[in-house]
Amino acid sequence: MSWFEYLLPYDFSPLTLLAFLAVLVLYIRGLRALPVAERPGVLRVGTFLLGVLLCYAVMHTRFDYYSQYMFFVHRGQHLVLHHLGPMLIALSNPLPILRYWGNRIPQAASPYLAPLGWIYRVLQQPFIAAFLFVGLIYFWLWPSMHFDAMLSRQLYWVMNWSMLLDGLLFWWLIFDPRSPYSSGALSYGMRILLLILVIVPQQVLGAWIVFNRGMVYDVYEVCGRAWPMAPETDQLIGGILTWIPPSMMSGIGVLIILGRLLHDGGSVKPSSELNVQGTNA
């Protein structure tokens, strides 16, 4: 295979391609339309693009083939879709771009968009968000559910998209650039609590996979692996990827929030549309 073929999707999904293209086009158009003072800097734009490209790469290139036929690659794929990618996107603070497009939604459309707003507010209730974040990992790794998801093309796409969307919701809640002192954003203490709360269940699941003597996910046995690898090794690496890196990311998240808390600590600032914290480059 030539390098070019590695960039082509294993399983072409027009909807996925369109969604990613739409995000890029909207981001870049919004960026160019913003006044220079409000425009995110190079580092922030780079972080955003890196997050989006990472998610696209694991979903819609040859990487997806290996994710379907190797358990540990699949865990790596979800690590990017549910953790790393959305974390980078949230950290890049695309709020000015979101606001730019938000202001351009015609008044007439707002009644139709209202239900989306309600759903969003429910999903962003701190404990619902944390429950969903961990719950989805457990849901798709439930052995019988995982088996079905790897066998059914539709379920497989639903799985990957649900992980990505939930990752975006959760990490946006955590890294919301608005200060809790001047906006309705979640308090720093709550953000840290959520980050710590989600560590334990993920570690339990990862450790259970690592120390399981039997084959938990035999679908990779049934469907054939991408290359010959001992099933135990595949499961072991996959378990470690479920166990260690997510906890580390929670740890990094806590440090970032602590940093913001120190800079933002208690000083009540007037509410300002441009009050953007943390990741300004």
Binding site: Y10, I119, F147, L151, S152, V222, R225
Partner: protein, 205 residues
């Protein structure tokens, strides 16, 4: 204000309904199968391959009988011969009148070595009524991808022999070509026989 207060609970109710529907949909099943019920999870049987007489063979030609499909290669040292023997044994164990309702399809994913002649000889060893099928690698990859499986070749040794990795599962399609069951390799002959008998009775009765 009243509207605003009412909304979260309504959305929450909607969410609960959606989650419950999703959970229930995952649990529904008509029979207690020994194999894995894959109804609705996989697309119906469709392919155009070459049979052991070198003729083109399409999935539709087998409609009306239960199709049991297995991916393998004739040089396969262990999984293929044991699976083939177990499947054939399971079919032979079914009530006599039902045996003809089941067709075994052996798809070789090693077209370089498995010529139609060789394929015919191989499947003939296990039974007269087994259909040996193959195609070019592109066609085979498409078929494997359709059923969420893959295969790969190892580097050839000094004699030019190489190993082929492939799915260990057996796919069962009903008389109309709908995907019904996935038989894992640890199922016994009796369990397979029981499932196939149930399926034939369901479709003919």
């Amino acid at each position: 204000m009243t509207v605003r207060n009412a909304t979260p609970s309504r959305s929450r109710r909607l969410l609960t309904t959606l989650l419950l529907t999703a959970l229930l949909a995952g649990c529904s099943s008509g029979h207690d199968w020994n194999g894995k019920d894959i109804s609705g999870l996989m697309p119906e049987l469709a392919f155009e391959l070459t049979d052991s007489s070198g003729e083109t063979y399409r999935a539709e030609e087998g409609e009306g009988s239960i199709r049991v499909m297995f991916f393998g290669f004739t040089n396969c040292p262990d999984i293929c011969p044991t699976t083939m023997a177990r499947l054939k044994g399971a079919i032979n164990q079914m009530p006599d009148s039902l045996q003809d309702e089941v067709t075994m399809l052996f798809v070789s994913v090693d077209p370089k070595r498995d010529t139609p002649d060789k394929l015919g000889e191989y499947v003939g060893f296990f039974g007269d009524d087994i259909k040996g099928l193959t195609g070019d690698e592109k066609t085979l990859r498409k078929l494997a991808k359709r059923y969420r499986t893959t295969f790969g070749y190892n580097e050839p040794d000094e004699n030019g022999d190489y190993d082929v990795s492939h799915s260990s599962a057996v796919y069962v399609f009903d008389d109309e070509g709908r995907a019904r069951l996935l038989l894992r390799s640890q199922l016994s002959r009796d369990e397979i026989s029981e499932d196939l008998t149930t399926l034939v009775r369901e479709t003919t009765g």
